[in-house]
C-alpha cells in the first residue's frame, strides 16, 4: 500500500560514495528480481556487498523511505525506485568522441547499452576516420557536433580523445548544450558547474594497483 514517499525535496546532491553504493544495491536487486526473491533486509543486502546494514538504510534514506519495518525492502518496489533515482529509467542518447582504440571498443561494449546509454553518434577530428563505419554508425566530423546534438537530442558525451585535445573538445561539447561528460582522457577537464563530469582515469587505477601490490605484506619482488 505505501507508495514509496516522494524523495527529499531539499534536493541536495547525494555524496559520491552514496550514489556509487546505490548502483551496487541496484545490481544486487536486479539479480534478486530475476531469482524471484520478494523481499530483502538491509543486513542481507549489505552482507552481499560487504556493507554495514545501517549504511544501507542510511543510503536509501537519503532518497526517501522505501522499506517496511519488520519486513525489509520489497525487491519489486525498490528496484524501479533506484532506477528512477539514478536516472536510468529512460534512455540517454550519447555521443562518443574520439575513435581510437578505446573509443571504438566502448562503442561496441554491451554494458552501456544495457543500462540505457545509447551511443547514437560518433565523432572524430581525423578526416581519415570521418565516414568510417564503427558498429553500424558512420563517424562524423567534430564540426557536425552542434547539429547532431539538436537532431539526436544528445544528452551525454563520452570523451576518448588524447590529453592535449581534451579541454578543447570539452569546450565544444559544453557549447552544444550537452549536460554530462564521461572523461577517459588522462587529464582533468574544466566545465561550467551546470555540466556534470565523471572522470575514468585508467592509468591512475593501475598506479593505485601497483602501489597496493608493492606495499601489501609479503612484498612482491622476486629478488627479495
Amino acid at each position: 500500500m505505501p507508495e514509496p514517499r516522494r524523495a527529499n525535496s531539499t534536493e541536495r546532491l547525494a555524496p559520491k560514495a552514496v550514489v556509487g553504493r546505490v548502483s551496487l544495491y541496484l545490481r544486487q536487486l536486479e539479480g534478486l528480481l530475476r531469482q524471484g526473491q520478494a523481499t530483502i533486509s538491509s543486513s542481507q543486502l549489505g552482507a552481499a556487498l560487504g556493507i554495514n546494514d545501517a549504511q544501507v538504510r542510511k543510503d536509501l534514506g537519503f532518497f526517501g523511505q522505501f522499506g517496511h519495518p519488520g519486513i525489509g525492502y520489497r525487491v519489486a518496489e525498490l528496484t524501479p525506485a533506484l532506477r528512477r533515482i539514478l536516472g536510468i529509467d529512460r534512455p540517454w542518447p550519447t555521443a562518443m568522441i574520439g575513435l581510437g582504440n578505446l573509443g571504438r571498443a566502448l562503442v561496441k561494449y554491451r554494458g552501456f547499452r544495457n543500462r540505457g546509454f545509447h551511443i547514437v553518434a560518433l565523432f572524430d577530428k581525423d578526416p581519415k576516420k570521418v565516414g568510417q563505419n564503427v558498429a553500424g554508425l558512420a563517424v562524423r566530423a567534430l564540426d557536425d557536433l552542434p547539429r547532431a546534438t539538436s537532431e539526436l537530442n544528445l544528452a551525454l558525451a563520452i570523451l576518448c580523445v588524447p590529453a592535449d585535445a581534451a579541454q578543447r573538445v570539452a569546450d565544444q561539447v559544453v557549447a552544444c548544450g550537452i549536460m554530462g561528460v564521461l572523461n577517459f582522457a588522462p587529464v582533468p577537464i574544466t566545465v561550467p558547474s551546470s555540466v556534470s563530469v565523471m572522470a575514468v582515469d585508467l592509468s591512475i587505477q593501475l598506479e593505485h594497483l601497483a602501489y597496493k601490490v608493492q606495499n601489501t605484506q609479503g612484498g612482491v619482488s622476486y629478488a627479495g
Copy 2:
C-alpha cells in the same frame, strides 16, 4: 643535500584518496619537469588541481619529508620519489585476460605502457580466439596461465571477462601467484587479502553521471 628521508617504516597502507591524489601530483610534476620548472610550493601544486595546500603537504607527509621550508619541493627530486612510492619506477609484466572489445582495446592502449605496465601475455577461454594475433601477441588458452606466469614473471592481470566468468578466472589468477588484479568485469571479485584488486566499473561511472545530470539544477529534460 638532504636526501629524501626514508618513508615511514610504520608501513600502513595509505588511504585510497591519498594514493589517488599522489598520482595526480606526479602527473603535474612530470609536466613541470618537461617545462623545466625547478621548484613548486604545495599551494601552487594544489591550485593546479583544485586541492588545498595543507592537503598536499599532508598527503606527501604520509610517505616522508620531501620539501624544503622556504623553498617548496624540488621537481627533479619529488618526481622520482613519487614514482618510487607508487611503484612505477620499474616495469610490471601484466597479463590481459579476456579479449573481447574492451580487452583488445586496452591491449593497444598506449597509456598503460607509458606508465610501465607492459602487457606481455594475452589469454582467452574461447578456442576460436586462441592463436589469434592482437597487437603482436598471440592469444593463449587460459590453461596456459600458470606456465606463462612463471616464464614471464607476470605480476598483474587485467580482467576483461564477462560477469559470470569473473570470479572463476580471478581464482585461477590467484592460484598462479599473480599479486594484483585490475577488474573491469561488472561484478566484485573476492580474493585473499594478500592479493590486491582495483575495480573499474564503467557502468557505475555512467550511472553516476546520469544521476548528476538528472539532479543538477536546471534539470535535463527537454519536456520540462
